[in-house]
Amino acid sequence: MTSPTPPLGQDGGVPTTSSPVSGDAPPRRVDGSMSLLVDMMTNTLDSAYAERAARRNDPGSAPAGGTGPVPRTVRGTAPPLLAILLVGVLTGTAVAQVRERQEAGTGLRAELVEEVRERTGESEALAGRAEDLRSEVDAARQASLGAGAAGQALTDRLAALGLASATTPVEGPGIVVTLDDAPSEAPLDPTDPRAATGGEGRVQDRDLQDAVNGLWAAGAEAISINGERLTVLTAKRSAGGAILVDLRPLSPPYVVEAVGDPSALELGFLDGPAGRRLTTYTSLYGFGLDVRRADQLSLPGAAVPDLRSSSREGSS
């Protein structure tokens, strides 16, 4: 049989324990290249403390004129206490300042929100008053024109012009076209619809323009979008992600109401280029498009535009 072999490492070979290198140069530290970081992590105490302590214990090494051991007196302890007090004051001031800044920020915001509410209410009240005054003007005009044949003709003319310029409220049958963003789009922030970013499934100003033009082409007599009556001068354009109609931002769904012959309108709109395009978008992008007839629509009158020019009847 074979004799038992000694276990590895104990066969009297090279000693495995490393003895300290007896060279002149001190052993190089592994992390020597990171001495700055190591120094920062290990020498955290101000070395001046150790120096002063060493000097105190060994007065002989103190430089000439050195004070040596400092007796503990009131004068000796006052500066550190003062310094610590200062630390506290600094901290407290910084905290107070941050709080004050936060308060100022939220206070300002609340103030602005309050002002916006107030102004919105004011604007609504003024719009209501304008409506009242307009009907008063209408009544007064009616009364002053009289019931004669000439007066009647003028009244009729005024009514036709009012309809054409969309300044008189209109009631009657028609169709309602509802456009909505695709459900995949994030809902608009109702407080700031302009901040939204437009995706493919969002209704664009062009789509609304298309729909409105299609309705006009189909024979609509009066159109409103979300209760905003459209005149020949009304602009429909986008600002950010929102669509502005007469500079007022709207949020979806966009309800386009058109007064006219319902069946002719529906046919004309859906068969026209605008209707066909919007129907395509419905399947392409997931638009919401809904067209239905309505027996009774009532559209508000648009604001009377500023008078820009006038001429005497029959003088031209």
């Binding site: 955290t44 550190p80 610590i84 506290g88 004051v89 600094l90 001031t93 910084a94 107070a96």
Partner: protein, 110 residues
């Protein structure tokens, strides 16, 4: 004990009096606080190790605050104020933590 009371008194004073800081110095206040805290932690550790010295503490406190403020001010002038204040906070934060660890070892022997 008395230093702790002084610290609390200082915080209360700062919170209640709300001294107005000149607008030009406002960005440096938080940095100054961190630098001062570093000096305080160093002082506590030195006290526990028996080598505390009044003069060293006061001088290190004042110089810490001034140097930290100066570095950030310089950074502001060079357009890297934010980064430099982050650096100052990181370095001082490491020192505060190591000193706090040393204090903890002294006090709790753990």
């Amino acid at each position: 004990m008395i230093p702790a009371l002084a610290l609390v008194l200082g915080v209360v004073l700062g919170l209640t009096l709300e001294p107005t800081v000149p607008a030009a110095l406002q960005p440096y206040l938080p940095i100054a606080v961190v630098a001062a805290l570093d000096a305080v932690f160093g002082a506590v550790r030195a006290q526990l190790e028996g080598i505390f010295d009044d003069k060293v503490f006061v001088v290190s406190f004042v110089s810490n605050v001034l140097v930290a403020g100066l570095v950030v001010f310089l950074g502001d002038q060079l357009g890297v104020g934010g980064q430099l204040s982050t650096g100052v906070v990181v370095v001082l934060g490491i020192r505060i933590f190591s000193n706090a660890a040393a204090i903890r070892r002294r006090v709790f022997h753990a």
